[in-house]
Symmetry: C5
Subunit: 325 residues, 5 copies
């Protein structure tokens, strides 16, 4: 008697007959990953799964828990950060995983690759028989737990991006930095859109509403629920950090304009009056004794030069006092 | 015996007697599109539909589901993006469709054209008799599903607009770009105003509250409900993208001012002091030995020119260090 | 037997005895408008209306529905836009109307003028006896419906203001435009403060909670409720439009500053270097062969002029490339 | 037999024995104001009041209604605007008042002065015996009503401040104005923090939850509740006005910068080119016939002057067209 | 018979046998601080505590109250402000404390140091036996109360930071000030994230839901709940103050740019026209009687100088009128 029957697109030899697997004693787990819709439907039919449920998984609806007569469907999503050309051109890509929990069977369907569930599957194969012995609901908990754990890794990556951005904003005023901030905010938005309904979906399991989840497993789902609450919380904190970074960025730009203005003001304010003074002594008034007699004074030139130097020094010290330079 | 009786403003020949249609066995569907209110009232009377319900459809109330004694009224809205003169001068135009679901009859009224429902109607005519055989509630589901599907196409168009705007904001600082952003936000606002109450209205059907909706059809309405949740979600994401575009736009403008200031500062800061220097040597001081003896020095002119060149080069390298040029 | 007894401050002859009116068979409607509080109290006493209810109407509380043992009080408000000196110096002025619905009597009290209710009152007098025959609750519906209809007209006026403001913001940068935007937002705020509790008050009637409202009239109140939902929705849309107008206004101002800076930069950047050049040839260096020999060159002057013209043209084309002019 | 026994810190002669007062027939009211905690505890003990309740009043918790076995505690707060050095350096200072409502006794405790309650107390003393005859709950209503009435006066003062600020913002751009706006917003925040929980606390009484409040008094509490709803509403409106004032302030500052820039641009743009022109005629080119022959032309000087005047006039009219001057 | 048995990592001698302690009459309290997980599990096993509960405490989940069959778990967090290198480089560091309340036993587990609970523990040791005699729930109240009291001290520190920032913003425009404001907002965010779920967790105890909390202790928990409501309120107020400080900061920067512009405008606007004038008299027009005859006038030079002085004075008084200087 086999308690675990695993189906995968590339391991077709592992099962003979789905109906027999369904009828077998003990908990049966059928996993179909990376398959097309027809294959999915075939698996679903063998376990009496409604075709609308399969459509939900295939079309990528929001994470949710939905109770049917004979089973409970939990749709969760695996999420990865798919990098673009530049560091900040990333976005969250997600793949739905449909977990159908029956009384003594478990069916998992996903159009994406099988890898995260492989960790659970290997536990089943490698003699850790306890997993399937603890029931379909407990195995479902393990699968969902592994997927939620991946969210923490994803959020860590986003946190790294935020830190890079936070370092950049105090110096850079180029448009790329603002786009990077916007990109991070977009990622957080996507992530929140993922974590929020997942929290709700797991909350239903943690309250033990579905008949397939027994009281003991509820406690484990409550644990996953707490993790998701924490994830949503972290997302909010990161959003706030990104907003703070944006404020600092915009301020850095204003500050830069302010600095540029100060440079212009200091230079222009010192030299424009002095240029006026030298212009005065460049005038061509005649030799009438009232017309610019100072031009003929012996020390007039050095006196004017020293006078202008003094004016410049006074203005410089004024600007220093005003914190312009 | 006819199971489907379709009434349209331009196909008056298709029915003889509404009362007979009402009394006929099997599910009867009467559809009145593009008709005036008097015609609507006449159809309503034949099926015992309250005149206030007809008024609701005619006056274009918000989408809603309302249960009456003998039937359930679902008001949904068909929406299209009506282009203006320029690309961004579009707005969402909507037409109400009243779906009255009785136990074995279905009446659909709309002041607008019939086209989206035509797809369902053709299914009825072209031998896909299964549709009406599955009941009035299932036919209502198909009609609402087709209308909600159109929303996705509409949102796709809005998404295209957002992408065009996102490309524009990093370079353009003209007022038209900001107006385009505002136009997109307005469209999203209108769309959200449409999708939100529709979601509520379909939610009532998905919970199976009305007596006319049986348990099997509930599941299909739940599917439409999921689509509407997704649409509302998408709207929020797009609103956020539009806000991000607006931030970048405003920043581009600030950046432009900053750049202009830098150009002015660099040119003025280099030439104003130099102009002062040449002004000094344009002064007309007399021939006292202390008055500008340098004017008579043999290499004074080239020395001054080289000195000014050096000052200019020092300042240029300073500005380069400050990232001004 | 008279089914309608109407009381007004200036039509005192219309009733002999309030107690007799109260006792008369059929539905009795007493309407007291523009009267002082003592008169109000006298009417209230005749119908067993609590003095606190009268105080509520007189002091202008928020719209609300309150059930008492023998009657239900609905407080609604008539609203008009009271123009100020300038176009945008308007504000919403409201007058409370207390509608007391008994089992077979209706009392309406208002400290303001009677006009909107006059439309209903004339219907009663002019042989449209059906109104009072349909009961006190239906007459109350008609009164409230007429008052809510006025809200649409009010919102239309506000919409006109918004359109005027939207036209103004793309050109004007004066403080009056911003004050106009703020004035519109204030009006919308006041309107929302009116429509919101009215929606709640009518919602209570639409759910048919009060004993005085029968099932048939409920449907009519549900209609008024839908109108109020639509009004609140419109208010939100208009608030968003006003915010958009404010964004464009602030941007127009920034743009204006940007334009001014560009003009200054173009002119200063072209002429400051040229002024330096002519300053150079204004220097009074001696006749040493190394000191400005070019001054004596035959075509020096035209050469310098042409050189400066070329510099100016190069800079102009650079500025054109930078989109400064 | 005494129906009212009033205890105050400075009127100790007014009661002999708290236990006797407690036992007396009719409604007993004990009021302890401005006393220390030990005195409060002594009064509380005589009426079986829990020591935690007394602590709540003394430590100034948020306004609340709390039902105990034998009595209901209503904590409300008296609020005054405590002026600072400047007009806008005010803040709201509040003093808690604990109102303990028993079946036939009322105890009011406050660490602050007694004055607002004095108005109620005088009504009791001056023969208005009706007050205590109407029960402990009605007396409590009167006390709470008087305290809530003070809130309206407080909000009037804040409204005055807002109007002063609104007048200031269109002209002043100094930092004090912004600080004044922030001060007003802070006051509104404090007030909202007061009015909000008070509304909740009175709401509990208005719903008649506590056993000590009879149905008739409920109606009066509903009246106070309506006042508090209105107060919270007003606070929101004032917050919006303060935000509007802040927008105008920030805009006035931007406008000022814009104006300053225009002045600079007009003056610099007119005179910098003209200075270039006069610089040209200050060049010292030799007497070659191609070098500045115009200097020797008879009317050259007036021609140049008139030319420059024309240039200046053209530029002025251009700037006028651009709305710069 | 010992009523209190306290276990600590560094006081291992204080108990012989956990099972015996569990079986002892009277209330038993076991406290494990600063221990590793294995030790925690050992204590948990002795009291039938679920291993998931221990994991929750060890992994630092959000504060919560969770009811189990035999005990109630309250997770609270001790919080301290861990200073960084600069004044504002602080952040809130928290350590979870798991309080397991059984019917006649209390287990407290924390991976952090024991100190705050020491205050309660000393009360137990130093003859204040009343504490444990009042039951496990009352002891739990004391522990939670002590931890919440620490929050007030923490918030006081944050308030000091806000005051420092508020003083800084009206003068400083450096990026450090903005970072300080952001740091304070981040601290408030962290604190709110701590206080909010703690409020919920204590709220469950204040409502007396868990079987282990008797009616008398409920009142004390209600007191702690009130403190937490006040803490959350204060956090909101402080957030608003921080936002106000940020507004003033950004305004100070705009004001600074405005001031710089005014200085430049005043100096440039006065001297650029005057420089033009002296340039005019520096032109080298010939001796034709129409060419600059004024150069030969006897008082021309003083007249020009006085004229320019008058122009400068007029402009200065204009700028004073415009509030530029």
């Amino acid at each position: 008697m086999t308690t675990a029957l695993v189906y995968r697109a590339d391991e077709v030899t592992e099962y003979d007959d789905l109906a027999a697997a369904r009828a077998a004693r003990g908990t049966t787990w059928v996993h179909a990953a990376g398959v097309d819709r027809a294959e999915m439907e075939r698996v679903a039919d063998a376990f009496g799964i409604h075709s609308l449920s399969v459509e939900d998984v295939f079309n990528g609806v929001r994470p949710k828990t939905e109770e049917y007569d004979d089973y409970t469907l939990v749709v969760v999503k695996r999420a990865t950060l798919r990098g673009g050309e530049t560091t900040f051109d990333e976005e969250i890509s997600d793949v739905p995983v449909g977990v159908f929990v029956g009384s003594d069977w478990l069916v998992t369907l996903t159009p994406g690759p099988a890898d995260p569930i492989d960790r659970v599957r290997q536990a089943v194969h490698s003699g850790d028989e306890r997993l399937l012995h603890r029931g379909a609901d407990f195995t479902a908990y393990r699968i969902i737990d592994v997927i939620v754990d991946e969210y923490f890794a994803l959020l860590d990556e986003i946190e790294d991006d935020i830190e890079t951005v936070e370092d950049a904003v105090t110096t850079a005023t180029d448009i790329e930095t603002l786009e990077a901030i916007n990109s991070v905010r977009r990622e957080l938005l996507s992530f929140r859109k993922l974590a929020w309904p997942t929290r709700e979906a797991v909350g239903v399991l943690a309250r033990g509403d579905p008949a397939q989840v027994d009281e003991e497993t509820e406690k484990y789902f409550r644990d996953v629920y707490d993790h998701l609450v924490q994830l949503v919380d972290l997302t909010e904190t990161y959003r706030d950090l990104a907003s703070g970074a944006r404020d600092i960025y915009l301020n850095t730009l204003s500050q830069s304009t302010n600095e540029v203005m100060k440079v212009l003001t200091v230079v222009a304010t010192i030299f424009i009056p002095l240029t006026f003074v030298v212009g005065v002594y460049g005038m061509n008034f005649g030799s009438s004794p009232y017309n610019m007699p100072e031009l003929a004074w012996p020390y007039a030139y050095p006196a004017v030069m020293v006078g202008m130097l003094l004016v410049a020094l006074v203005m410089l010290s004024y600007f220093r006092g005003q914190d312009y330079i």
